[in-house]
């Protein structure tokens, strides 16, 4: 790798794309573990998953890497946005953006900022409690009861609404980001790119939908 790589335009994009894909891989794990609540067994299975995630040293280490990846993704986005502002010091009087690109592809910064705000609230709801301030009581298996915290949190309607809206932001962020990452890495192929694009759309709809179903199902008593 040459010295200027991380300063070059393609190098910076590369960092956005790879950290983005890494964060996507985290979403898969997160979604899978949390979907254990749908066993509807009072959270027993879910708490086993949560217990494993909290105690496994490999996961603990992964958490650090995850935060690092997230911070790099955000800082790089900020650097790129500021750079790009400089590339067009005088803007247009009239812009017809809808004629040539999707609104969400042009709004990744805004969507990302909304997701960051959500993330802060989300971490305060669950991560801070499970890691630092402690969880209330244990379940029948003697595991820390993160499930109870979920139930408590999602009793509030505003939280449920906020989570659902944030999942819409996530969906649009992914809708552009997923396939964009492959383009950035140069992974383009006549046969596979249409598949990647379809998989991206499916992922961007299904994963946020599963996440949004959690507060909804809990709030409206579909799972107890």
């Amino acid at each position: 790798m040459s010295k200027g790589f991380l300063k070059s335009s393609i190098g910076k994009k590369f960092v956005m794309g790879t950290t983005g894909l890494f964060l996507i891989s985290f979403l898969v794990v997160h979604c899978f573990i949390n979907a254990l609540i749908f066993f509807n067994d009072g959270g027993l299975t879910f708490n086993i998953g949560a217990h494993f995630m909290a105690k496994n040293w490999l996961i603990r280490f992964g958490e650090i890497v995850l935060f690092a990846g997230l911070i790099i993704h955000m800082v790089q986005a900020l650097v790129l946005t500021m750079d790009n502002k400089k590339s067009r010091p005088i803007g247009y009087e009239k812009i017809d953006g809808a004629a040539n690109s999707s609104w969400y592809s042009r709004s990744m910064g805004l969507l990302g900022t909304l997701l960051l705000m959500f993330l802060i609230i989300h971490l305060a709801h669950f991560w801070v409690k499970s890691r630092f301030t402690g969880l209330p009581g244990e379940d029948a298996n003697g595991h820390e009861n993160l499930y109870a915290v979920m139930q408590e949190t999602f009793k509030q309607l505003w939280v449920v609404i906020l989570y659902c809206l944030s999942m819409i932001s996530l969906s649009y962020h992914l809708l552009h980001g997923f396939q964009s990452a492959f383009q950035t890495l140069g992974l383009n192929h006549a046969k596979y790119t249409p598949l990647i694009k379809k998989a991206g759309v499916a992922f961007s709809i299904i994963v946020p939908l599963i996440f949004a179903a959690m507060p909804l199902a809990m709030h409206f008593g579909m799972i107890k």
Partner: protein, 254 residues
Amino acid sequence: MSHGNMNLTLKVWKQKNKDSKGKFETYDAKGISPDMSFLEMFDVVNEQLISSGKEPIAFDHDCREGICGMCSMYINGRPHGPKQGVTTCQLHMRSFKDGDVIVVEPWRSAAFPVIKDLAVDRSSFDRIMAAGGFVSVNTGNAKDANNILIPKPDADEAFEAAACIGCGACVAACKNASAMLFVSAKVSQLALLPQGKIEARERVLNMVAQMDEEGFGNCTNTGACEAECPKSISLENIARMNREYLVSNALSKK
């Protein structure tokens, strides 16, 4: 042929020179035939301005048949106006309605400084080409054209990339003022052919370095460039350039 002619209002960017601050001026374009091209409409307006002792609007043009890439105008929020796959010189006034207000601006990019009014300096593109957009060939007799066999699909793809006329609409359309589509077309047209492969590694590194040096923005894959390119240059070229760059960079000894 006054039948069906249109009266339009133009809001055009006027700027004396590179260093002055410009502003919008409003002009009436009266009796415009729908069969005129957008540039011919400007000719009519300019003739009227000249005959009434006013300064005409400066704009770039040359071939007027969609092959030179000079006619840069950002029309009603889009480079080369409302039609897809055409340059301004190929845009006809029938794309507008009687009474329309048309806003015309120069390309906006730090790397394309305004020379005057709508004319911008695109020599940054020339410097990118000089950095690597060539193949080195020995002097002497020209080789037989079919000496090196090239698979037809490769030749076609290279040809499609070579259709780029260097107009800069991709930069103008991009919300980040990125030149990735142009540079990737120029990288691809050579990288796809055996003659170009020899210098491919260095070429992509040098051209991208020059592109960054010129102050173009960073691509975020919105695809606006591809949609607005008068020659429909494909985003696949950008993916190819990214790939070439990443590999060349990883293998670079510098």
